[in-house]
Structures are given as C-alpha cells and as structure tokens.
Amino acid sequence: MKILTKWLRAYLPGLSVNDAQLAEDLTLRGIAVEGVYDLGAGNGSLYEMDITTNRVDAMNHYGVAREAATIYGLELKPLEFSLPAAKPAAQPFSVAIEAQDLCGRFTAQVLRGVTITESRDWFPGAEVASYFALLDQKKISNAVDATNYAWLAMGHPTHAFDLDKIEGGIVVRRARKGEKLKTLDGMERVLDPEDLVVADHKKALALAGVMGGWDTMITPETKNVLVEAAWFEPMAVRQTARRHGLHTDASHRFERGADFAAAPTASRLVSAILLAGGGSVEGELVDVRVPALEDRTARRKPVALQLSEVQRILGTTLDAEGITAQTVEAVLGGLGCGVQAASAGTGSWLVTLPSWRLDLEREIDLIEEVARVYGYNRFANTLPAFAGGVQALPWAAKEAAARTTMLAAGFHEAIASTFCSAAEAAQTAQQPGQVVPLGNPLSEEAGVLRPSLVPGMLTMVAGNLNRDVSDVRLFELGTVFSGTTEKVEERPALGLAATGAIPQDSALHAARQIDFHDVKGVVEQVLGNFEARGLYFDRFPADAGITPEWLHPYRSARAVVDGVTVGWFGQLHPREASARKIRQAVLVGELYIDRLYKLPLRKPAARELSRFQPVRRDFSLVLDESVAWEAVDQAMAELRIPELVDWRVREVFRDPRLGKGEYSLLLGATFQAADRTLREEELQGFHARVVEAVGKAGARLRAQA
C-alpha cells in the first residue's frame, strides 16, 4: 500500500516532524513503513507500507493520519464534505435489506445530471488529479476516480451505479439459484444461493462488497448516478470472494471488517467529487440499517479496563514513572475510544470502541494498544524467576547416541523431503497399504507422506551421483508415517545409504568400495548403543516375500534385537538401481529406531583386566559353502570356556586346492585366565575342544601344508 505524506499532512495541520522521522515513529508503533521515496519539492514523500492484516483501518490515508495524531498528541482534521441542498425527490429511493444477517447498512444517494468527465483537483480535500499522479494511480473517469479517491482517503469501499439501468429500487439479498451476473471484469458468473448480491427489483446488479456489475457501470453517457456506501458482513463477503476467485480492494476490506459508521461520509465524499463537475442531489441520503449488526459494530458495549491489569501484563518500563492513567487515557482517546473513568482516580475505565476498529474487542486488545503506542522499546528487559527443573525428551539421549555413532562412522546427516510418490511408498511401506496421501500435494512425486526414509535416501544418493559425487555416506533421523487418512501414526526412523570408495581422501592408500559388511558394522555399532540380551541378523529366501522389495535378496539382512525386527539393510536391488540409472552398488537401510528407544542405553561397566599373558591360537578351517560363519561362531559360544576371551574370523578365502564347494576360514581364538598363566596342557585341552566343536558345526582342520 502506498501513502502520500502530503495527503497525510492535509489531515494533520500541526505535524512538525519530517517524513523520515514520521516513518520511523509509525513503524515502531506497528504501522510499518517499508520504504520512503522523495517525490520532489512540495510533493512530500511516498511511503511503501506493510500493515498487518488486523489493521485494515490503517490501510488508508486517514487511518495512518489517525495513528500519527495519536503518537504526537495532535489534532486530526475531521472528515467533512458538504453537498449542495437536495432537490426533493418525488418519493425516497427504495432500498430494502432482505438478507438482514449479511448486510448491516446500505446507503443510497441519487445524483442527477452529472457529467462524466476527466478528474481534476476539485476542491480542497479532493485533489484527485494531483494525488493520483503522485501515487501513479490511473485516472478513469470522475465517477470511478471518486470512489477510488474515497477508498484511498478513508478505506471505505463505495460503488457508483448508472441509475438509469436500475429497475425499481435496491434489494440486498442472497442470489437465486442459477442467477447470472456479468461483473465489471467482463466475466459472466453463475451465482451461488449463498452469494450476497445488490439487486434491483428485476435482477442482480453487483456482487455485494466484491465487485460491481457490467450492465450498471458508469459510461461516458451516464447522466444519473446512484452512490452506494454500505456495510457487509465479513464472512459473507469472504465466502463470495472465494467462491468466485475474486479478491478486490473492496472484498479485502469488508472481509476484515469495514467501518459501519463511515458509510455516509464516504458517500458524501464521492457525491461531492461527482457534483463538482456539475449535477444535483436528489433527495436525502437513504440510509437503511440493521440494528442487530449495528450493535455488533458501531454500538458495541464498552469494555472495562484496569490500570492494574495493564501493568500486570506489560511489566516494567525503562521510565521510572511507567504507564500511568494519563498514558492510558491519552493513547486510547487518540485512537478514537471513549475513555470514561469508572470512578475518579481508581485507574479503572469503561472504554467505548471505535466503529473502525473491529479488531478491538477485549481488555487485552486495549492493553496492546497502550503498549504499542507507548512504544515497545520503552519497556525494560527483565528475566522471570523460575524454580522448576529442565526435562529433556525421554529419547533425547538415545537419539543423540545414534546420531553420534553415525557421524563417527563417517556418515553426513541429511534431511530429506517428508513426501514421496505413491509408487515409492507402496514399495517401502512397512505395512502394505498403510500409506497416507495428501489432499493437495505439491506434485505427484510428493503425493504421499513418506512411510519410510528409504525413498529420500535413494533420491539423495542419485542426486549426488548425478552431480558426479560418487562417494556417498548419508543418514537421516526423521519421521515416517503410516495409518490411514482417518488416523495417521508417526514414528522416528533412522535411514542410511552409502556408495563408493573408502577411504575417501588419500593419495597413498588404495581405495576400496564400501560393502555390505562395512554397513553391517555401522548397524552393529548403532545397535550396540542399546542394552539388549540378543542381537542377530538373518536373511530369507527370495520367494519368501519377507525381504523388502528394495533390497538385493541375497545381499541384505534383517536385524533382530531381543526377538524384535529393528531394521533392514543391504545392497539396493539391482532392478531398483537400474530404474534410478545408478550403475554402482548402493547400500541402503532403515532402522525402526522407535523400537530401539524402548531399550535402555547400554551403560559401560569396567571389568578387571587380567595381568596374565593372553595366548592366541589360530585354526585354519575348511568348510562346506553351505556352512556360514554363524555356525562356527555359535559352536564357539556354546563351548563356554571362561578362558576363551575372544574369537573372531580373521580371514576367509577361496582356494582352488580345496574340494569343490568348500572354502577356508582362519579362526583366531584368544585364551586368557584372570588368575594365572595358562599352562601348555590346558591350552592343548582347549585346542582339542575347539576342534571338536567346530567339527560338529561342519568345519574340519585344514591339513598342515
């Protein structure tokens, strides 16, 4: 919105500050001047304003002037326009408000013998031509410009009809089903029975408070005019405007509450401008009001205000004096409130509310006005005392542990879109069909709430590869969604993806591609943060339909903690990789971290370290391809030899000298006692037991070369 300071000053004869100071003072009171542009000598400045939606009353020159008058305690020139004496009408122009719930006031003024001409500066207070030039507002005709001038001056929408096109009188009513109206924008509109229209006795003339009609518009031939200034119910205008996709200056104001009392003044201003070019008034202003709506606007009940309440809410000021009864009375009086002391000197008032400030309804609204005009920055900075404790979220430490592990493993944290396509969702949803679509998605690719972090991970991996970043390590701690459009469930999840070489940044060491077991190690480390009795990984035949579709069936695993599935990970299914034009192996996984959050964090506990020498024994084993490491591992665990403190697979190799379908594995075992040095006989005994146990598991000792 644009404001001319020259126009403001016309309403504020006593204003002495310059335009820059005025702009700052207004801004600090919430009437924000975003830009000040000098218009040259004698023309003042143009303000570019940004006024919050609750302050429609200040979106015009008189409204801004009222704010300035309040700030500086100045006299604001009243808006007064005189019309020539009316010629009597044969009978008053007929106006009826049929929709008494939607139209609170309708004024009509008949003007005869007007001349439709170009706008000029008509009289002091109606500088149409010069103000429009400064505002870069297009001039159309004196009739249209008059309504625009009234709008810019006082923010009240008015409308001028070609009186000769009106049949009978005015009826403000709901539209009839299927009724048609061609609006000023040339659009033929079919009206809704809930639309409020200004009609004559035959037809709809205008969409009330939104836009006038084509057939009754002012033309160069117009001789007789009906000036409308009315008050329409905000919700009715809003819904009509929405239904027709029509957002006009008039609808903007009526939707947010116009000034019930302003109608006659606005009407007089429009009439005065029109008549300045010739013509006469016929009859008095016809003014039809609906008392019920007037009670809700111009005649609202006074609001009680206590100084103690002002102070309770606002607190300490920088001035020792603080906010006094005089401050309250000056601010509210300046804004147009009637401030009446409930009883003298008690700091208790009954405040009548201005008709143009429908945003003021309650005591707190008045307190805000006091604070705003007094100046927010004149309040002190105080800190409230507090005796309570601070509580972290129950899972905060667990989430932090998972994040720290992922970061330490060299994965960057990412945040992906909350949405994915229906196809991606169908493929990655944990429970089939539990996918929640959006009603108004941003795009088809973002049509549903993500049921998994995997689609986002894959999109980001593909994005990196497309940008020629071939080494990718990403994870996300985010929310996934399931359920139905009736009831949506949200759970936290941990997604991870990796592809490319490790180590990533070295001239001296050969890089190798990250593989399944690298990622398994990361998963084990994440799971290792939690206190659990049992952890295992398993895999299912491709035709079992258990492995998620996005995973390579033979290079993926399920992680199970204490009997509960906590996630899946592995190599991206080659079919999915090629669908995404990914040519290198991608590892991807998702952990259902909400299930881990049910477990306590593992608390490190120290054990006594043995002072005695550990002894390592290696076993070179030959196994059938069908025997997995797990079998050997389990056999070792079941030995339950207290001195067997560690065992691990040290090497796996395929050797052509072995039998067909066999492979070799080097098992390293470490024996150590807490209380003694192990004797050779003991070690021989352990050795024999290991050989026997792994033998039962399907492994034989490889013959010495």
């Binding site: 919430g30 000021t317 927010y376 920055n377 002190a380 507090f386 990412a414 998605p441 991970m457 980001m460």
Partner: protein, 368 residues
C-alpha cells in the same frame, strides 16, 4: 686382518701395558665415533666383542694366556677396563640409532595431503536447533515435541484462528486427503507451525510451563531461494503467575545475545499473530556489519528474526477446557517462534534454502 691389528706386547711391564691398552682404547673410540647405522654398529661389536675373532678375545688368548703369573692381575684389570669402555661405546652407538644418511633414505613427501578419515557432519539445521534449544535450556526451558500431522483444532482453532478467518490465508496448508466429510476441528493437515505444541503441552500440564519446541513444519508454498515447503521452527512458551511483556523482552534479548554474541542488540515492533496479544516482531542488530548498514541487512542495520507476544487470553481459554488453572486473570505468559533455516542461513552464509534438503555431500561436508 684382525690379528694384525693386535700388536705383540714387547713385555709385561707396567709401561708397556699402559701404552698398549691406551692405544687400543683410542682405536676403539675413534672407530665408535664414526659408526653409522645398525650394520656398522654390529660390525664394531663383532670386531671388538665377537666370540671367535673379536679383538678382546684375541687379547685374551694372545696376551693373557701367555702372561707370567705375576703380571696376570695387572693385565686382567686393564683388560676388564677396556672391555667396559668398549661395551659403553657400543651402548652409546646403538642408542644413537641410525645415521642421518640412513634416515634420509627413508624421506617421504610431507606435503602430500593427510589421509583423512571421513567424519560425518551434523546437519546445519540440527546444529542450529540444538544451539537454540540449549540457550533456552539454560533459562529453564524443557523440550517438547508434537506430531507433524496435526488436526485443524490444534494447528488453527486453538491458536485463535477461527474457522474462515482471514488469518488462515497467511499459512497455506498441506492437507491429508479425504478430510472433507470430517468435522473441521478433526481434519488432518501438515502443521504449518510448531505452535500447536503449545496447546498440547498446556493440556497436559498445569502452569508453570517453560517449554521450547523444535520441529519440522510444512506449508503449501512454492519453493524459491528463501522459501521451502519444508522448514523448521523453534517455538517457546512460558506461562506462570506474573509473566510480563518486559519478561518476554528480557528473555529474547538474552537469548539473542547468547546465540549471536553479547554485542547484539534487539528491538521490538508491534506485529500481529492470532495467538498472541500484544504481538511483536523482533529485530537484532545486523550480525554482519554491527548495525552500520550493509548488503545483508539492506542498509538498515537490523535483521528481522522472530515473532513473539503475550499469550492471547483466547488461547488460555482453550487450554482451560482441560486445565482450569489456565485462568487468564491469574496467570499470564509469552510465546515466541523463530525459523531455524533463516538463522542457519545467516550464521553459515547459505544462500539457497533448498540445499538443506538435497543431501548433497559437498554441501553437508562443509559442516564437519
């Protein structure tokens, strides 16, 4: 030949012994001084202490064995002294380690880049969120969270956005499908702000409340350099007896100084939010130019950073339906909210908001 270097003893007299042993010691010292590398040290050791052909062994077999009994004691003393000297020299030589030449042969190019183990980087949004949360934790604020899919009631109605109110237009909303037949208050949508957690918190606990709410929010906004349909907010709520507007000012002034440095100034402007009254926008003095005016602050010296205000009694009225202690005549409170992306963009000099959600390794790696 080693043998050749062991002179014949002219006699076993005191002087002859003195001279012979002095010569041997000098020779050992000279040799030891020039030793370089383990191999030479080993040669020296063999030359002097070798069991078969070592000089001391030679001396022992040639001089000691042939000595007359009366000279044996003096010879023995001198022999042992020499052996100690040689052993000492050897120890010294061995301790000095390899020679410079040997070390030089092992030189490497130290200007080659170090082998870095990739360290993961915390997302700048997480980092910024955590910073904000910890500033408020120090002021006694606990952390609260709420669902990303909200009902119309929590997102709008209970936050004083009545049905059909124009204020709803300012927050374009993504909605869950198939909600049209449900009562308006139950309709599901993607929360447009973290404010609904204010209501959820108050419904759960009576005052006093001090809570800070980090979270992801969504709006049906077209993406551009500074707008994204996905973004993050941190919301704060403080409710107690005697919480005032000046407390709100002091709290945020303190928090902005903690986040951006103690020289940062704040100023407050009247604003409008349906759920607070009085409402304010907060600006901080430009962190780039210190308030002198620069391109980042559009020459104003100030940067707009957050919205806040005193909790509207209408919001308390909704809370009081479940917790009667939220009586606006007895308690008061303030709320504030800030966009995390905006703060992170400012702190780290990020110009495109979309980079936060692209998962670009090059972008994320900068925050390691």
């Amino acid at each position: 030949m080693i043998d050749a270097s062991i002179p014949e003893l002219p006699d076993y007299g005191e002087a002859a012994l003195e001279q012979a042993f002095a010569a041997l010691e000098a020779s050992a010292r000279t040799a030891a001084a020039n030793l370089s590398g383990e191999a030479q040290v080993e040669t020296f050791r063999l030359e002097w202490l070798g069991r078969k052909q070592g000089r001391l062994n030679e001396i022992s077999s040639r001089w000691l064995k042939g000595a007359p009994p009366e000279a044996k004691k003096a010879l023995g003393v001198r022999f042992n002294a020499l052996k100690t000297v040689v052993e000492g020299l050897l120890e010294q030589a061995a301790g000095a380690g390899p020679s410079d030449a040997a070390l030089k042969a092992e030189a490497i190019d130290i200007t080659l880049p170090g082998t870095r183990r990739l360290t993961g980087a915390e997302h700048p949004i997480t980092k910024t969120l955590n910073e904000i949360v910890s500033v408020f934790a120090a002021l006694g604020y606990s952390v609260g969270v709420g669902p990303e899919v909200e009902t119309d009631f929590y997102n709008f109605e209970s936050m004083n956005f009545p049905p059909g109110h124009p204020a709803r237009d300012t927050q374009d909303t993504l909605v869950v499908a198939n909600q049209e037949r449900r009562p308006l208050r139950d309709r599901l949508l993607l929360r447009t702000h973290t404010s609904p957690v204010q209501m959820r918190t108050m419904e759960q606990q009576p005052p006093p409340v001090r809570i800070v709410i980090p979270g992801k929010v969504h709006r049906n906004d077209a993406a551009d350099a500074t707008h994204s349909p996905i973004f993050h907010q941190v919301e704060g709520l403080c409710v107690d007896t005697n919480i005032t507007f000046s407390d709100l000012k002091g709290t945020l002034d303190h928090a902005m100084k903690a986040l951006f440095g103690s020289s940062v100034k704040t100023r407050f402007f009247p604003s409008f939010f349906p759920f607070t009254e009085p409402s304010a926008d907060v600006q901080i003095s430009c962190i780039f130019c210190g308030g002198k005016g620069c391109r980042k602050c559009k020459q104003s010296g100030w940067i707009e950073l957050l919205g806040c205000g005193m909790v509207d009694p209408g919001v308390f009225a909704f809370a009081a339906q479940k917790q009667p202690a939220y009586d606006p005549k007895k308690i008061s409170g303030f709320a504030f909210g800030m966009g995390v992306e905006r703060i992170a963009m400012m702190k780290y000099g990020i110009s495109e908001i979309g980079q936060f959600y692209a998962g670009d390794m090059r972008f994320l790696g900068q925050f390691a």
